[in-house]
């Protein structure tokens, strides 16, 4: 079946090349059948890559270790769920996932616009197939998922234990969906520039895909943060890791685009800005994909092995050069149709918001790529850590949250100072009440956190006021009960009120970030059974050790050979709060040189944290047991010497019993973080608001609204 996979890749590349040619010819000659054939090449690409992906997925599920990818990232002891998701844990498999998702999303986008913007869509098709051809060529010439080995190994290496967590397996598909969706507005922007049709139509066609890209990227980023917090052993959710930053940058420029495109839709302004944002977002998405495969930056996310740096750098250079050329050469037709009427207008607030978002992106870009630039210029690699990022991003984040509260209460086109003052009274009052309450509670030592809480309160006051006034206005017109009026208000103004809900979610998320990072209590301590320690207001007692043996009994369901941990009792002021069970999993290294017993636990040890989460705080623990004591090591040494491989698990059982009987002190990492859960709740609110904003109104409602608007527009002319 590997042959079928290779044939699929070759066929896919041929289809891409044909599709590019047919689309460009169709666009230039006006021959619709060639444009349509090019579009159908994208559909065909989706079919081919679905078959290729199925071939690889089946190989993983059947433990077909003849496939190098399967042998390198899976094993018979890897749990079934992780075997299925291990397809994208390797460089090769992740490239296939990227190309497959690109083909699927591209097919959907082109299907939805098949009867409109033919010339623009044809060029966009060529660009999308160009991306497809690039990734497929990488798989054919650099990193093929269908490479095989003969004779077939009896067992695989197994999935990296760090990846054996549900959120980590869902995170790549969500993130790659975000990245690939970013290429669609990019392609349509290129198509609009190439076809010299930089009007509202391409914005209208691609707005939903830009929003979907923003949503999926955001979910992917949050899932990654959740994995980092709930699975890794360091207790944080964001470390300003290069690859984390690489996914955040297109999200920031995408956020800026979603705001400024409203200005272009309404006023025909910011065309150069918008098209530049879209092109930058697509390019940053490719750069994010490039970072994990280039080997140029250190990251926990980076794929090892062969690097694809040169092809990606070439592609990125082509994207940047092509984008600049097209924007500069089409600048005459990108002139704004109007100017901003007033500084006191929603347009101005959006513009300020855009500047802050792009500023954030620039700061993160500089901090992420600075090590590389520094090395290129000076020969010495410099590192930029979290304190540097925090110094510049925190003030910008404060400004961003504040603007997200001001924008909703300012009118489009122009607002009077008196009106603006009146609309800002209630939100300002809410912020002041929050400030007084926080200071009264004795929380005065963290000015940035206090400022963020107040800004978030301002946003909640502002948005709450908008919903209240909107529902009241609706009730005045329709006489509906308040809940019905509120629902009808949101249903009829999904973009506006969905956007408001997103703003609420962002404010809530930042409250969680500010609280958990500024008011966290942490300690690292060695404890023996029966001993206690304090962290914050909580007392943590090491009750007894725990142990499980063999992958089948692994309580974390990650296939570890041996898992050693502890039962902890958490109490506050004498009252039991939670029971926690952190553990450390030891995995098979597959290295016979470590001995028959040694290799069973000689692989990478992975911490399985235990956490008690709540709306007010999380109590988080991780354990590092000590298995290097002479008594425990003697069991491994004797087992290596005396036990054949098929009986080595007996020694693991002895090891576990010895650990339980006489446990050495273990190292514990303990953290109490306030309001962490509000980060995830805020993210869910953002996601919900985004869905509301992007959801299309039923077609019957759209027709009624359009007819009413036409009649009212005509009525206005008749009156005049």
């Amino acid at each position: 079946m590997a042959d079928l996979g290779r044939i699929c890749l070759l066929l896919a590349l041929l289809v891409c090349v044909y599709g590019i040619g047919a689309s460009v010819y169709g666009a230039r000659s006006g021959r619709v059948e060639f444009s349509d054939s090019g579009r159908r090449a994208v559909y065909a690409l989706a079919i081919i890559l679905t078959v290729a992906f199925a071939v690889l997925e089946i190989a993983f599920l059947r433990d077909d270790f003849a496939f190098n990818t399967v042998a390198d990232t899976s094993s018979r002891t890897t749990p079934a769920f992780y075997r299925a998701a291990a397809v994208w844990s390797s460089q090769e498999g992740s490239l296939l996932l990227w190309a497959w998702l690109l083909s699927l999303w591209s097919s959907l986008a082109l299907f939805l616009v098949r009867r409109r913007m033919r010339e623009v869509a044809a060029y966009a098709t060529a660009v999308l197939l160009g991306f497809g051809a690039f990734f497929i060529a990488l798989m054919i010439f650099y990193a093929t998922p269908f490479a095989t080995t003969s004779p077939t190994p009896a067992e695989g290496v197994g999935l990296d234990p760090l990846l054996r967590f549900p959120t980590m397996m869902i995170h790549p598909p969500m993130l790659y969906s975000g990245y690939t969706l970013c290429t669609i507005p990019f392609a349509f922007a290129m198509g609009a520039l190439l076809a010299r049709r930089v009007d509202a139509d391409w914005i209208r066609a691609t707005r939903r895909f830009a929003f979907a890209a923003w949503l999926f990227l955001g979910v992917g980023i949050l899932l990654g943060a959740r994995w980092s917090y709930a699975e890794l052993g360091w207790g944080g959710y964001w470390g300003w890791d290069a690859v984390e930053n690489a996914s955040l940058m297109p999200w920031l420029t995408g956020t800026a685009f979603l705001h400024s495109l409203m200005i272009q839709e309404k006023r025909g302004m910011l065309k150069v800005w918008n098209v530049s944002l879209v092109l930058a977002t697509g390019t940053l998405a490719i750069m994010g994909t490039f970072l994990v495969r280039s080997g140029i930056l250190n990251s926990i996310h980076a794929f090892g092995g062969a690097t694809l740096g040169v092809p990606f750098v070439t592609l990125i250079a082509v994207l940047i050069a092509g984008s600049i050329y097209l924007v500069v050469s089409r600048r005459e037709m990108l002139r704004s149709e109007h100017r901003i009427d007033s500084l006191l207008s929603r347009e101005s607030i959006f513009l300020a918001n855009n500047v802050v978002l792009v500023g954030l992106c620039f700061v993160i870009f500089w901090g992420t790529y600075f090590p590389l630039i520094s090395e290129a210029l000076t020969g010495h690699e410099a590192s930029v850590g979290p304190p540097w990022f925090d110094r510049y991003t925190v003030p910008l984040a404060l400004l961003l949250v504040l603007l997200s509260g001001i924008g909703p209460v300012i009118a489009w086109r122009r607002a009077t100072l008196a009106n603006a003052r009146r609309n800002l009274v209630a939100p300002t009052l809410v912020a002041l009440i929050a400030l007084v309450s926080l200071l009264g509670a004795g929380l005065s030592g963290k000015p940035f956190a206090i400022a963020m809480f107040c800004c978030a309160a301002f946003v909640l006051g502002s948005i709450g006021q908008e919903f209240f006034r909107g529902a009241r206005a609706r009730r005045a017109m329709s006489g509906e009960p308040a809940p019905v009026a509120l629902l009808a208000l949101v249903r009829r103004n999904r973009r506006r009120y969905g956007g408001y809900i997103v703003h609420v979610g962002i404010a809530v998320l930042f409250v969680g970030v500010a609280a958990s990072s500024s008011f966290q209590h942490a300690s690292e301590v060695g404890l023996s059974p029966g001993k206690s320690t304090h962290v914050g207001a909580y007392k943590v007692t090491y009750v007894r050790p725990t142990a499980t043996v063999t992958p089948r009994n692994d309580v974390a369901h990650t296939g570890s050979t041996l898992s050693l941990g502890a039962l902890l009792d958490v109490s506050k002021r004498g009252h039991h709060v939670a029971t926690l069970r952190p553990s450390q999993g030891y995995y098979d290294s597959g290295e016979p040189s470590q001995g028959s017993v040694g290799h069973l636990i000689g692989g990478q040890a992975v911490s399985h944290i235990s956490m008690s989460g709540g709306v007010t705080r999380d109590v988080w623990t991780a354990i590092a047991p000590n298995i290097s004591t002479p008594a425990l090591q003697r069991i491994v040494t004797v087992g290596n010497r005396t036990l054949p491989p098929d009986e080595a698990e007996v020694a693991i059982g002895f090891l576990a019993r010895a650990y339980l009987k006489d446990p050495p002190p273990a190292q514990f990492h303990l953290i109490v973080s306030p309001l962490v859960m509000w980060i995830w709740i805020g993210g869910a609110i953002v996601f919900g608001g985004g869905l509301i904003a992007i959801w299309p109104a039923p077609s019957a409602v759209r027709r009624r609204v359009a007819m009413r608007s036409r009649a009212r527009a005509a009525h206005g002319l008749a009156r005049a």
Binding site: R116, M117, D201, A415, S709, R710, R719
Partner: protein, 114 residues
């Protein structure tokens, strides 16, 4: 190479060729003239653009009304903005009508005196 692989590959190739060539075969069958190939039944680019502008203008009119009803615009500002938006909307509707698109109700509403 296994027989199954060959059969599946050939089937896939047949599907791909069928999907990609369908528009070309259709055009050949219709024997379409050069003049017809670039239009078909799709709206002209100008009409599409005007329809997109129309939808955006309707949305602006609704947003302005909502801004007024939620206290963000004074009555004087709302009247000025609303009048300007309606005039812009009617201009777009007239351009749509000239471009051959649907713009019903403009003349009728005006004749009824609003």
């Amino acid at each position: 190479m296994e027989i199954l692989t060959i059969v599946l590959a050939l089937a896939l190739l047949a599907v791909v060729i069928g999907v990609i060539s369908a528009p070309l075969r259709g055009a050949a069958k219709r024997g379409a003239t050069d003049g017809d190939r670039s239009h078909g039944s799709d709206p002209s680019p100008e009409l599409s653009e005007l329809e997109a502008a129309r939808e955006a203008k309707y949305r602006e009119i609704r947003d302005a009304e909502l801004d007024f009803r939620t206290g963000k615009l004074s009555p004087e500002d709302y009247e000025a903005i609303d009048g300007a938006l309606r005039a812009e909307a009617l201009e777009i509707l007239e351009r749509i009508a000239r471009a051959g698109g649907e713009a019903p109700g403009v003349e009728n509403s005006a004749a009824r005196g609003g």
